[in-house]
Amino acid sequence: MSATGFSRRTLLKSAALGAAGAALDLGAMGRAFAAADLTVGIVYVGARDDFGWNQAHAVAAEALKLVPGVKVVEEENVPETDACAKTMESMINLDGAGLILATSFGYYTPFVVDMAKKYPDVQFRHAAPLWNKDKDPKNAGSYFGYLNQAHYVDGVAAGLSTTSNKLGFVAAKPISSVLSNINSFMLGARKTNPKAIVQVIFTGDWSLPVREAESANALVDAGCDVITCHVDSPKVVIETAEKRGVKSCGHNASQAPLAPKGFITGAEYKWATIYKGYAADIAAGNPLPNFLIGGYESDFVQNTPFGAGATEAAKAAANGAIADMKNKVPIYVGPLKDNKTGKVVIDKTYGNLDPYLDNMNYLLEGVVGSIT
C-alpha cells in the first residue's frame, strides 16, 4: 500500500478547493472503519505529560486508541539520535507497526528517511513540513498544523485583556515557526488593540525551565500583563504568570489547569484529526497523503476552552477570530515592516498557508525584541 503523490487531503490545502475539500474531509472522518488491524507506533522526544508538544500528541494518541482495529504503541523520551531510528525499527520488528508517527523535528533527517527506505511496506509520517516529493521515499510523509492561527486568536483575546498594552512572549529559538507565532500573536493583539506591543525574550533552547521562569518574571517586571510562550513545555511560564497575578495564553496543549485564575485561552494542536484520518485511510485501503498541512480551516489546530482570565469581550472577539481563521481570512495583510530596519518584509497580503511565510526570519513592527 504505497502512497503515491498527491491525495485528496493534500489538495485540501490549496485555496481553490475550499468547499469541495471540506466536504471530502468530512467524508473521511465519518467513514466506517474496516476491521483491518493496524498497529501505530508513536515516538515522542519528551514526556507524554509535559503540558506541551508531546502531550498534544499523546492526547491525540489516546483518541486514536479508541478507533476500532487500531492498536497504539508509544515510546517517550526518545532522543534525536540513532536511538529514534532503533525505536522505530523496534516498533516495526517487535510490535508489527504498520504506521510510524515520528513527532519530533530532528527525527526526520536522516532517521525517518533512512527507515522509510529500509522498510518500504511501512508508512512513516513526521510532524513537520519536511517531506520532499522529489527526494524522499513515497512511504514517508509530513503533517503539520499551522499553530500561528491559534496564536493569532490568542492575540485577539490578549489585546482585550491587557491594561498596560504590553504583552510578553517567552520564545525558545528564533526559527521560522516560532517567529510566525510571535508575529501572528502580535497581529491578533493589534486587531483588537492597536496600541498593543509584544515583548519577546528568547531563551535559546526548547526546554530551559529555569530560564523560562526568569524570562516570564522579567516580562512581568517590565510591565507585561499577559504572558504567552513558544517553548516545548509551557508549564513553567504559565505557572509563573499565574503566580505573579498576570493573565496567560497557552501553547501546544491545554495548560488551563495550571492557571485557574488568569488563563485566557491557548493555541493547541489538534493532531487527532490527522491521526484518525490516517487510520481511516489505511482501513479503507486508500493511499495515505504524503504532505498534509493546515490550520483552522482543516481542523488541525484549536484554541483551549476559555479560562477565568477571559472577559466576555475577549471571548466574543476570539470566537470571531476563530471563525475568520476557518474562513481563511489572512493574518498577514501587507505591506508589513520588520521591527529592526523598518524595511517592508511582507510586501503584499499572503494566504495563511502561503509557503512564502514558512521562511520567516524577522520580527514585525509591533514586536519588541531581537532575533540576533
Binding site: 507506533g41 514526556a47 504503541v73 508509544e74 515510546e75 517517550e76 523520551n77 526518545v78 532522543p79 534525536e80 539520535t81 540513532d82 536511538a83 532503533k86 525505536t87 525499527e89 523496534s90 516498533m91 520488528n93 517487535l94 510490535d95 523535528f105 530532528g106 533527517t109 536522516p110 513537520a128 529559538k173 526559527i175 521560522s176 515557526s177 535559546g204 533552547d205 514558512d358 521562511n359 526570519n361
Partner: protein
Amino acid sequence: MSSGAPAASGLAAAGTPPSAPSARYDLGVRLRANSEYVAIPVFALLMAAALFAVFLLAIGKSPIEFVNYVWRGGFGTAFSLQNTLQRSSPLILTALAVAIPARIGLIMIGGEGALVLGGFAAAAIAVPMVGVVPPIVTIPVMVAAAVLVGAMWVGIAGYLRYARGVNETISSLLLTYIGIAIMNFFVEGVMRDASNPNKPSTKPIGDAYMVGYIPGTEVHWGFPVGVLLSVALYILMTRTTFGFAARVTGGNFRAALAQGLPVGRLIVGCAMIAGGCAGLAGYFEVAAIQGRANASLAAGYGFTGILVSFLARHNPVVIIPVAIMFGGLVASGGLIQRRMGMPDATVLVLQGLIFVVLLTSETLYGRFAIFRAGDAKERT
C-alpha cells in the same frame, strides 16, 4: 576514592617481587584476590535486581515480564542485539574518557563537551572538503580533527588541574557547557545550513563521506573501534611505563613528584587521551549517524559514560561488557515502555539502583577472608 582499589591491586601485582616462592602459587593467590572484583559486582547487581523487583511488585508489575522484555528487547533477537551493540558504542568511548583520568586520580566528567566539539570539528572540517577531496583523504582528516579537538578540550581541564590546582571535576563539567555553547554558536551562526531553517545544523557531509555499518550488520564502526581502543588503553595503562607512572601518580601524587616522574605531562596526557576518546565518539556520531553537526550531538552519552566507567571500576576492558549491558537496558527500555505501559523513567530507576548499590558495594572490598586467606599466608 573508588578508583583506589583497582589501582592499588594493580600496583600490588606489578610490585610483586620477582623472587616470589612459586609462580604457580602466586597465580593462585592473584586469582583468588582478583575473584573479589568479580564476585562483589555480581552480588551487587543481584542486589540491585532484587530491589528493583520489589519496586516493580510495589507498582503492580511483574518482574518476570520485565526480565523477559529486557532479554527480548536488548539481546534476544538479531535486531535487538545489534541495537544494543550500536547503542553501547558511544558509551564505550565516553566511558574511556572517564576511566583513563581516573587511573591517574582525576575525576573528569567532561566527556560530553569533548564529544560535542569533536563531532563538530569533524563536520566543520569535512564540509569544505566534501566534493573536492575524496573520502579516503577526508575521513582520516575528520577523525584527526575530532580526536585532536576533543583531546585539547579535556586537556585544558588537565592542565588547569596541574598548573593551577583547579578542581578537574568542576572545570571539565563547566567546559562541557562551554563546548556545547561554542558548537551552538557556530551551528546557529556562520556555519548554519540555510536550507534547513528550523533545525540549526551544519551542512550535511553526504553519504559518500559517512563511515557506514560493518558489512552484514547494522552496527557502525564505532563499536569495534571502541573495543580495540579499550584493549589498547588497558595495555597502555597496565603494561607500559606510561601506565605505571600514571598509576603511581594516581596512587600518591607527592611520591610521584619525589620520584621525579613527569607528573604534569602525565596528567595532561591522560586528560588528552580521555578527550580524544570522547572526540572520537563525536566523530562517529557525525560520520556514522547524524551526517552533520547539530544540537543532537549533546545526547547525554558523555554523562552516561561516567556511570559506565564507575561501574567498570575504571577498568578499560571491563567497560566493554558494562557498556553493552547499559546499551541493552536502554535498547529494551522502549519495549518495556510499549508493552508494560511503564514510563521511560523505569529504566532510569533500575540504572540508579545499580549505580547506588554498586558504589555501596565498594565498601565490601577486603572484608571477606575467603578472598584473602592465601594472600595473608603469603605475606606473613
